[in-house]
């Protein structure tokens, strides 16, 4: 790797590109050349840097100064001041909110990066995701080397258990325990599967990890293979994630070339290979048994459980299935130890969580914060408040199978257990923030429409229940609902939960239940008064007769 004095990164998420990131990049190339700095400064476009309030952004390391929004005509000044003269080009710096009070313990470098604790995304947006050299320079493969040369498989699993890592796909199952199940199951052939079929509406954390730091997943899967005794891994990437697939293929090829994948890794008798398997568009394939069916070339219909994949998975063999974000935590834990990991988050849910903030906030995008941060903090600090000064009405977590969280719960710490106790779910990490112009009936209708479309149709409660619930909600939105409908909705929600075969059906009724628990008056207004308080629903079926 060439040694450079400064590293310049340009954000190139869709929003940045729309606002001229490409032109900024070109001007940077020209100006760096004009100042004769091309051998001292590296320049790259890095995709999404997780912050969208001041794009396109230019980040200069090692000082970690963020500039934005940068226009092509600003580039000359930026290069002259920062790269040539070596001082911060203050007028172009992106604004940073200073921290105070309760959350001040979050580590933040004043005036630089936003206050986040990055474990999973520590390299995303910092390294060149297409270069294994860059990954290695940033502690890459230190964990695998340590595990293969100093630790037994059992010790690797114990480290995860001690760290208290829990699955980040939504259910929060202890990762160490799961690895232990697969390790204990006898069998010569076992598989490690990375679930990258990220399809929960509003969730794109896994995409950014795969696009920004693909090697971390390759390394973690190899570690998993060593720990559970598997020699083949599959990454199931949803079909729509073209760039992620490309980066993974490239990462695997480079890892093979460098001897980090293949036979006898680090001179041991452990061998591991990884295949990328693209999906073809089906939400249900995020369910682990449906995903396994899909790899086997079948319809993605979930299997009946038990037996669980840990004993009967891919091709009937013991299989470890982990979410991308879960795997991204593995190498840092092995490298830094369980105690270090427990220093973040809450005692029952250590570590960090990646959230996507969406909807009616001033800033939307991706953040990684310690477990246990509250919704209020996320809204105020990272969302920078509600758009147009509106009032916060509700947040919908975890994509469509998450909960509808009313403003009254915004001080509940966001971790698995505190949310469980409050009767809501953390889900996969999407936070769809809604103001008072959002109608709960309309929202529930859109969520149920999603399940109606994405239900695989294998079991009746889900296939019929979601369609029926959608029809009823549509009636209410059109002003022809009855009070009996509300009882029917609750019954459907209950049936879905108790009778469905897999997690999709079981959680599909959650939005209905939450909406009727926290916003029943608003729903009843649609029925009793034939009025949509938020002014969203058409109420088109309700005829108003006028007397002349």
């Amino acid at each position: 790797m060439k040694a450079v004095r400064s590293m310049v990164l340009v954000s190139s998420d869709p929003k940045s590109l729309e606002r001229g990131a490409q032109q900024v990049f070109q001007r940077l190339q020209e100006e760096i050349k004009a100042f004769g700095l091309e051998n001292e400064v590296s320049l790259s476009m890095v995709g999404d840097v997780g912050r969208h309030d001041a794009v396109p952004m230019v980040i200069v390391y090692p000082e970690a100064v963020i500039y934005g929004p940068v226009k092509p005509e600003d580039v000359h000044f930026l290069v002259e001041e920062h790269l040539y003269k070596g001082r911060v080009a203050a007028p172009l710096q992106a604004s940073v909110r200073e921290l105070s009070g309760k959350i001040a313990w979050l580590q933040a470098r004043k005036g630089t990066l936003p206050a986040e604790q990055r474990i999973v995304l520590e390299r995303a947006g910092v390294i060149d995701p297409t270069s294994i050299e860059d990954y290695i320079v940033h502690d890459g493969y230190a964990a695998l080397g340590k595990a293969l040369t100093e630790m037994t498989p059992q010790q690797v699993i114990e480290a995860l258990s001690k760290a208290g890592l829990r699955g980040r796909g939504g259910a929060g199952f202890p990762t160490g325990t799961k690895w232990g199940f697969v390790a204990k199951t006898p069998g010569k052939v076992k598989y490690v599967v990375c679930n990258a079929d990220e399809s929960e509406p509003g969730t794109f954390k896994d995409r950014l990890i795969l696009e920004g730091d693909p090697f971390s997943i390759i390394e973690a899967m190899t570690l998993a293979g060593y720990a559970v005794g598997a020699s083949v891994g599959y990454i199931y990437v949803r079909g729509e994630y073209g760039l992620a697939q490309e980066r993974l293929h490239n990462a695997i090829a480079q890892a093979e070339e460098m001897g980090f994948l293949g036979k006898n890794l680090f001179g041991t008798d452990f061998s591991f290979e990884i295949h990328v398997h693209g999906g073809a568009g089906a939400y249900i394939c995020g369910e682990e048994t449906a995903l396994i069916e899909s790899i086997e070339g079948k319809r993605g219909e979930p299997r009946s459980r038990p037996p669980y994949p840990t004993t009967h998975g891919l091709w009937g063999k013991p299989t470890l299935v982990n979410n991308v974000e879960t795997l991204a935590n593995v190498a840092p834990i092995i490298r830094n130890g369980a105690e270090w990991f427990r220093g973040f988050g809450t005692p029952s849910s250590p570590g960090t969580k990646v959230y996507t903030i969406l909807g009616n906030t001033n800033v939307t995008g991706l953040i990684e914060v310690p477990m246990g941060v509250t919704l209020r903090e996320v809204l105020a600090i990272y969302g920078k408040g509600m758009k147009n000064g509106a009032n916060f009405k509700l947040a919908q977590t975890g994509g469509s199978s998450g909960s509808v969280i009313p403003a009254s719960l915004q001080d509940t710490p966001m971790d698995f257990d505190a949310f469980n106790r409050a009767g809501v779910a953390l889900g996969s990490g999407a936070l769809l923030i809604c103001d008072e112009e959002t109608c709960v009936v309309d929202l529930a209708r859109v969520l149920l429409k999603f399940f109606e479309v994405e239900s695989c149709g294998k079991c009746t409660p889900c296939r019929v229940g979601n369609e029926r619930a959608y029809q009823i909600l549509t009636n209410i939105a059109e002003g022809v609902g009855t009070l009996q409908d509300l009882d029917d909705l609750l019954m459907l929600s209950d049936n879905l939960y108790q009778l469905s075969n897999c997690g999709l059906g079981q959680t599909a009724g959650t939005p209905i239940r939450d909406v009727l628990t926290y916003f029943r008056a608003e729903v009843e207004a649609h029925i009793r008064l034939k009025v949509c308080p938020a002014g969203v629903c058409s109420m088109s079926g309700h005829k108003v007769y006028q007397i002349n």
Binding site: P14, P201, G278, G297, D442
Partner: protein
């Protein structure tokens, strides 16, 4: 995106080349279908027959797989496929209005293809670019932060 007719000689060659590249094994079935679908615009019956022969998978199973996944289609589509995200984040960000405008501009409903064979309109679940909703996808081009008054300009870019 071109649409081959059933009699087209290109279909068999395309299928053979794709199967050869992936290997005639069952675990490659979905990647194979995906690529054939992308190259031909859809999965003609002839292509499914050939894949069935090469992979030794019953036609019934092949058809059941081909009709399960949203990125696969067994019916020909228009020259350009417009996919509009109908999931909650885009909906909340103003997708509803844009959707109505889009349907009006194209003159077709979801699942339909225009009479001149230029446009097909489909709704899609989340595309994972929710930070810039409402989102729509025309062929392989993603458009984010779409507003109603931009629809005409965007559609005009396509021949």
């Amino acid at each position: 995106m071109t649409v081959e007719t059933k009699a087209s000689p290109g279909v068999l060659e395309t299928v053979k080349a794709v199967v050869e590249r992936h290997g005639a094994v069952k675990e490659e079935l979905i990647p194979i279908l995906n690529e054939v679908n992308r190259l031909l615009g859809y999965l003609p019956a002839e292509a499914l027959d050939e894949i069935s022969n090469l992979l030794h998978v019953p036609k019934s199973q092949l058809f059941s797989v081909a009709t399960f996944y949203s990125m696969l289609t067994t019916k020909p589509r228009g020259r350009h496929v417009v996919q509009f995200c109908e999931s909650a984040p885009c909906h909340v960000a103003g997708g509803r209005k844009v959707w109505v405008t889009l349907m009006d501009a194209l003159g077709i409903k979801p699942g339909e293809t225009s009479a001149d064979g230029k446009w097909s309109l489909v709704t899609t679940s989340c595309l994972g670019v929710c930070g810039v909703g409402p989102v729509m996808l025309i062929d392989d081009d993603i458009y984010g932060n779409v507003e109603s008054d931009q629809i005409a300009d965007i559609l005009a870019k396509y021949e």
